[in-house]
């Protein structure tokens, strides 16, 4: 059933990832042809597998030639060595590139569909134009997704042939499904984009929205399938201790981390799409010549940053779920994640997320100046900034900081007595909840910069809002400090629940009051789209760059969790690179990757600009 030699591509090759436009059809045909042998080989022994469970595995294998083989026990000689190429680095780089592009091409249709729906709902033609424009400029990215996917496939097949062989025996049918969904996605993409004009009226518009939905459903399904392969490597299911597959693909797909990973990546994709569109708008805004262009791109940047930040806020909760599932699959894996060497990585993550928060707030503060009543609220900025800054610093303070021996001599210890309590989880929870509340306050004053409430109870409403915020902040700090430092550690988790609850109550409560207070409010003067300073646009660019970098870094953590395993606990990595690299090394790889990716994205936008000039108003 297997070829021992690497290079027999038809058995397990062309199966991993590809997204392509024009070459898509040819590749697809090849994939389908080549996959049939795999599929039939995989389909045949499914009945036999039941006997495997019933009897001793070794007997079953002796008795049944068609049964699945256990995962191979590799030695260092099983890996292809190419002079001057580090296999792990090559695969890492290709996978990272492919992931960024895939996230981008999945995120754009989600984003575009949201915008198009907003256009239908508000009857504001600007939304429709924006959605269409963004579809146009990102079309080239699909070919890059295919190219990087092919690179990844080649790298995997060349450097890790046995792993690919093993995975394809298990996931053969899903690879077929992958091809099918890819076909649907491509078809939907073409109809969605090229049919935009033709389907812009009446019922056809609804059909168009449905096609957009189909496009997204197919794209999301593609991601879910690829997620199954990746999560199987972390938390294998459907195989026994020696890696013998039980024949049921669903078992392997539906492994422990599949759902949490699906949710986490889905939300992250929305945020990522918003951030990239924001950066695009920022760049276009900076190079705009006319007021009309400026106001268009300003509005585009605002809308997309709102979506990006809005999707960012629930992301930590999805992350908690993912972590909880990792713990429940293997406590060992969970402790490695949060307690070992990788713990420092979460300090780095804290810095990057803090930078995201600051940038988002700064953008809102600058945005206030569009409204005519901004001067009234400018005074609050410094207080919000102070609180954000203080929380940010609490957030990234490690419990045991990097300390020189001479400093330790002066302190008389390895940690600073005042900073150490800030390094614990309760302090971080307090900090992040307050940061979210104050970011929300930035958003509130931003909205008020152009509106005057006309209802009679406006002052009461404002007082209630202030009371809500004050109560929540007091509650968050008090429960955090009390439960975090003065009681048994059993209650620590309980306190974070009340903290998150008070944050959510503040946001929903204040938003409701705000909505009723400003219903029918009079807008003061023309809203100044396009009246943004250039420096504010760099905040949007920072958000996109930080998102990209952070995605790379967290991708490293996820992969590093497997430690010295190809498939955790089933198939050992016997290559020279089995050990986990240092965090600093990972950061360098991610940085180089980010630069290359950003350069290609610039190229994509540039190409789109070339083609777009003639057909802008078609």
């Amino acid at each position: 059933m297997f070829d021992k030699k690497p290079g027999a591509l038809n058995k397990y090759g062309y199966t991993r990832k590809q997204n392509s436009r024009l070459p898509g059809a040819t590749v697809l045909a090849l994939v389908l042809l080549l996959l049939f042998p795999v599929f039939s080989a995989v389909a045949a022994p499914t009945h036999a597998s039941e006997t495997i469970q019933a009897t001793q595995p070794s007997q079953a294998i002796a008795a049944d030639q068609n049964a699945y083989a256990p995962a191979p026990q590799l030695t260092a000689e099983d890996y292809t060595k190419v002079r001057g190429v580090n296999p792990r680095l090559a695969v890492w780089f290709a996978a990272q590139m492919h992931l960024w592009f895939a996230a981008f091409v999945l995120a754009v249709p989600i984003f575009v569909l949201i915008i198009e729906c907003a256009g239908v709902y508000t009857r504001d033609a600007r939304y429709d134009a924006l959605a269409r424009e963004f579809m146009r400029v990102s079309l080239t990215a699909y070919s890059f997704t295919a190219i990087t996917g092919a690179l990844l496939l080649v790298a995997l097949v060349v450097f890790y042939p046995d792993l690919m062989k093993y995975l394809s025996t298990i996931f053969g049918p899903t690879m077929l499904l992958y091809a099918l969904f890819f076909f649907i996605e491509s078809a939907a993409l073409y109809v969605y984009y090229y049919g935009w004009q033709a389907m812009s009226e009446g019922v056809w518009k609804k059909v168009h929205l449905l096609i957009g939905l189909a496009l997204n459903a197919a794209g999301t399904a593609l991601m879910f399938i690829a997620n199954a392969w990746v999560t199987f490597m972390m938390t294998p299911a459907g195989v026994d201790a020696r890696g013998v597959f039980d024949g049921n693909v669903w078992h392997a797909v539906h492994n422990h981390l599949w759902h949490p990973m699906n949710l986490h990546r889905f939300i992250a994709n929305i945020a990522y799409g918003g951030s990239i569109v924001g950066a695009y708008a920022a760049y276009m805004y900076l190079s705009s010549r006319t007021d009309e262009e400026r106001s268009h791109y300003d509005w585009m940047g605002y809308t997309s940053s709102l979506i990006a930040v809005g999707a960012l806020l629930p992301l930590p909760f999805a992350g908690y779920w993912l972590t909880a599932e990792i713990y429940s699959y293997s406590q060992q894996m969970g402790i490695n994640l949060m307690g070992g060497v990788l713990a420092w990585l979460f300090i780095i993550q804290a810095v990057v997320i803090g930078a995201l928060f600051l940038a988002a707030n700064y953008y809102l503060w600058c945005g206030m100046q569009r409204g005519s009543r901004a001067a009234q609220y400018n005074g609050y900025i410094k207080y919000i900034a102070f609180v954000l800054g203080a929380c940010f610093m609490v957030w990234f303070t490690p419990h045991t900081p990097l300390i020189k021996p001479t400093e330790a001599a002066a302190l008389g210890g390895q940690f600073h007595p005042w900073l150490a309590p800030l390094g614990l989880m309760p302090a971080k929870n307090v900090a992040v909840n307050i940061m979210i509340i104050f970011t929300y306050l930035s958003f509130l004053i931003y909205r008020r910069s152009n509106r005057v409430p006309t209802v009679g109870w406006a002052s009461t409403g404002k007082a209630v809002q202030a009371a809500l915020v004050a109560a929540a902040v007091v509650n968050i700090i008090a429960t955090g400090v009390y439960y975090g430092y003065f009681t048994n550690s059993v209650y620590k988790v309980a306190s974070s629940v009340t903290q998150v609850a008070s944050t959510l109550i503040v946001i929903t409560g204040c938003s409701l009051i705000e909505y009723f207070m400003h219903r029918g409010a009079k807008e003061t003067g023309e809203y100044g789209w396009g009246r943004m300073p250039a420096r504010s646009q760099y905040a949007l660019i920072l958000i996109a760059v930080s998102f990209t970098w952070l995605m790379g870094l967290m991708g490293f953590v996820r992969s590093a969790l497997r430690q010295q395993w190809h498939v955790y606990s089933v198939m050992r990595d016997a290559s020279a690179d089995a050990a986990t690299p240092t965090v600093a090394y990972a950061a360098r790889v991610v940085s180089v990757g980010t630069i290359v990716f950003m350069a290609i994205i610039l190229f994509i936008f540039w190409v789109a600009q070339l083609g777009g000039k003639g057909s802008r108003h078609d």
């Binding site: 201790a241 760049y283 070992g340 660019i541 920072l542 630069i595």
Partner: protein
């Protein structure tokens, strides 16, 4: 063009700042290479030495202390497991097939759900299922010899007589 340059320089600056932080403000801890040592199946060693090997496995390859410690409260402490074991197999909730104390310990390591100490089961399983992995399987992957060494260590730790040597085999009939 100047705008493009500014944006590029700004982005590189941001990436550079993150890289600088990650490389110079965090400790350069090098993760340990994977543990692959196996205890040779030598039968000519004293019980005390065998137990000492067990202690090394307990803290190293077996990574038992990761959960069996007083801090995290994830798993019961093993200080006196060798003394308690004989009582466990007589309890009503016992589902395994061991007939003596050492057999019970061996079984707990390879079939953890045979008996779950109250309060330590998987959440929602009503203590019917243990969160502990089978230590003879990967990723821990202790060999039968190594499991015996760990049992010897657990006996020593409880202050009981060490009865499990390299040649011991479990009596698994009930």
């Amino acid at each position: 063009m100047t705008n493009l340059l500014k944006v590029v320089v700004f982005s590189l600056g941001v990436i550079g700042a993150y890289t600088l932080f990650a490389t110079t403000f965090t400790p350069a801890i090098k993760p340990e290479p994977p543990v692959t040592d196996n205890i040779p199946a030598s039968t000519g060693m004293t019980l005390a030495r065998f137990a000492a090997l067990g202690e090394r496995l307990y803290n190293g390859k077996g990574s038992c202390g990761l959960c069996h410690n007083p801090v995290g409260g994830r798993a019961p402490l093993l200080d006196d497991v060798a003394l308690r074991a004989a009582g466990r197999i007589k309890e009503a909730g016992y589902k395994g097939s061991a007939i003596d104390a050492t057999g019970y310990i061996y079984e707990s390591m390879t079939t953890p759900s045979a008996y779950v100490v109250a309060g330590y089961g998987v959440v929602g399983s009503n203590d019917g299922q243990s969160p502990m992995p089978d230590v003879s399987r990967e990723p821990i992957g202790l060999s039968a010899m190594e499991i015996r060494a760990v049992i010897a260590y657990l006996q020593q730790r409880a202050g009981a007589a060490i009865t499990v040597g390299p040649d011991w085999t479990a009596k698994e009939t009930r």
